[in-house]
């Protein structure tokens, strides 16, 4: 049940326990127990909402920043990653293979704020060697969901 349960709530975290039990063909108490275990074990880390901010009047700018760093003795990349992810405006930090080391996703209200963050906070960190900032111009698909307009059901209304 675990994999199916996770795949349902990954798509719809608002689903009620009752409905979840029906869809899985399981007893409510068993599903509840499994959910509690998953939360306790940190497999379920949170219940977020996917928002297309572009459709609101609220300004948001998102940047992907490539960061090259010198790993530190004994701690590898973890220490420097921690220094970066503790900033609340940092949405995500990934350790990446390839031409650079960390990918930082930053969300701010304006370009200027992003520029400030990179020049004042990120670049000045001792182990940061270089950064490359990419601004996101448009999100087509996020977290597996296509944000562009949904297509209509073009099937006939009845068919054998």
């Amino acid at each position: 049940m675990r994999e199916e349960l996770l795949s349902i709530i990954e798509k719809n975290s608002r689903i009620g326990l009752n409905e979840l039990a029906v869809l899985l063909g399981q007893k409510e108490e068993d599903v509840l127990k499994e959910l509690e275990t998953l939360e306790k074990d940190g497999i379920i880390c949170g219940y977020n909402t996917l928002i297309d901010w572009e459709k609101t009047s609220i300004e948001k700018v998102t940047a992907l920043i490539e960061v090259r760093v010198t790993p530190q003795r004994g701690q590898g990349f973890d220490k420097i990653a921690e220094r970066i992810y503790n900033y609340p405006e940092v949405k995500a930090v990934y350790l990446i293979s390839g031409g650079f080391d960390l990918l930082v996703i930053l969300e701010e209200k304006s370009l200027r704020e992003i520029a400030n963050f990179v020049s004042d906070k990120l670049s000045t960190l001792e182990s940061v060697l270089s950064t490359g900032t990419h601004f996101i111009l448009k999100k087509y698909k996020d977290y597996g969901t296509i944000l562009a307009k949904k297509h209509e059901d073009e099937r006939e209304i009845v068919s054998p």
């Binding site: 349902i8 063909g25 006939e156 209304i157 054998p160």
Partner: protein
């Protein structure tokens, strides 16, 4: 013109679904539960292969029996799912949907007056195809008490010395019923004893929810008398690509191929290239769709339980078949009123044969949100009728 058209065709009744379609098409904001095709788009990697085939200019006829690669993959697929081995060179024919295979399979087998046993409720084309082939359809009315499975007794009763062919439509449209291995073993005995051919329409074989589908052709002494029909429409959400296939002993395929060759030439080329990709690399897509269907199936069964609407638990295809006899209306009246009052379109069970009277076919090839709104409306309707 004054000369009469074909009497045989004139006398064939138009499909009961067509009547309903005319009614529905005049209405707005209808929530439909009426389609017999997946709501999923064909998985992208399959569509991409179709596009690639166009780009490469693969727009010519293929060989009559279908692309060699595709027949080879079909042979592999049947082997790994059913453990039956069909020779791709002589025992497999790629057709325009399962529907073509049904038509030419019947035509290749029957002579004038031969009897074709058709269990109903079932898909709408078997009976007219049998009639057009000058055969005599013999209907077996399946019973709700057997979960609409075909029993050996029912089959035995329908057999006469003129019986040539049994149509075996499981997993079933419209009931969602399946035949499990022990059900099949029982009827196989009757089939072998009476030396009958079988056309096993397994188009929904990938959509079963309590274990893997078993083909009757995999039972001892059955392959030699069975036309196994399957296709890409339901399993890979490829209805519009029009691609199916038949697997059968080479003597039968040889005759089917003649009809196919003269009437059709070959199945659509682009679709065949896309189908190679589907059958080779589509297992995960099928598994994902199956899981989604299964969740919806459970949702509907639970909704009917809460409404107190009797419905056996179907384990196949994407239909549920609740009983509406308590309301004292025919299926058609019930469905028509449901459409007019609550704007929910479901197909009257009677469209699939007399024994579907008193039932409703509800398709769950719709999103859960869609099904939820529809169940609220159906619940309102049922409550009003019960007052």
């Amino acid at each position: 013109m004054t000369k009469e058209l074909s009497n045989k065709v004139i006398n064939i009744k138009p499909s009961g679904i067509r009547k309903f379609f005319d009614l529905v098409s005049e209405m707005k904001d209808v929530i439909s539960l009426g389609v017999g095709e997946p709501d999923f788009d064909t998985p992208w990697h399959i569509r991409d292969e179709g596009i690639y085939a166009f780009e490469k200019g693969r727009t010519f006829y293929t060989s009559n029996s279908g692309l060699k690669d595709l027949r080879f993959e079909i042979s592999n697929y049947i082997n790994r799912t059913q453990n039956i081995s069909y020779n791709p060179d002589s025992e497999i024919l790629v057709t325009v949907g399962g529907s073509e295979a049904i038509d030419i399979g019947i035509r290749a087998l029957v002579n004038n007056g031969d009897e074709v046993i058709i269990p109903q409720p079932s898909y709408v084309s078997y009976e007219p195809c049998a009639i057009l082939a000058n055969a005599k359809p013999v209907i077996v009315n399946l019973q709700a008490k057997n979960q609409f499975r075909l029993t050996a007794e029912e089959l035995q009763k329908a057999v006469t010395p003129r019986t040539k062919l049994l149509i075996l439509p499981f997993p079933n449209n419209p009931t969602g019923s399946i035949m499990e291995k022990d059900d099949l073993e029982k009827i196989a005995e009757v089939i072998i004893d009476n030396d009958i051919y079988v056309m096993s329409d397994e188009i929904y074989s990938e959509l079963t929810y309590n274990g893997k589908h078993v083909s009757i052709a995999s039972l001892p002494k059955m392959k030699e008398r069975t036309i196994l029909i399957n296709g890409f429409s339901k399993s890979y959400a490829m209805t519009g690509w029009r691609l199916g296939y038949a697997c059968a002993p080479k003597e039968i395929v040889k005759q089917m191929l003649k009809i196919h060759q003269f009437a059709i030439m070959c199945a659509p080329t682009t679709s065949q290239y896309a189908a190679v990709e589907a059958i080779k690399n589509g297992d995960d897509d099928v598994a994902q769709m199956r899981q989604a269907y299964n969740q919806r199936r459970r949702f509907l069964i639970n909704a009917f339980k809460e409404m107190n609407l009797p419905c056996f638990e179907p384990f196949g295809a994407f239909y549920v078949f609740p009983c509406i006899k308590e309301f004292g209306m025919t299926s058609e009246e019930f469905a028509t009123k449901l459409l007019q009052e609550e704007k929910v379109a479901a197909i009257p069970g009677s469209a699939f044969g007399e024994s579907g009277e008193g039932y409703l076919r509800i398709s769950y090839a719709y999103s859960l949100d869609n099904l939820k709104s529809a169940m609220i409306r159906l619940n309102n309707y049922v409550n009003r009728l019960r007052k």
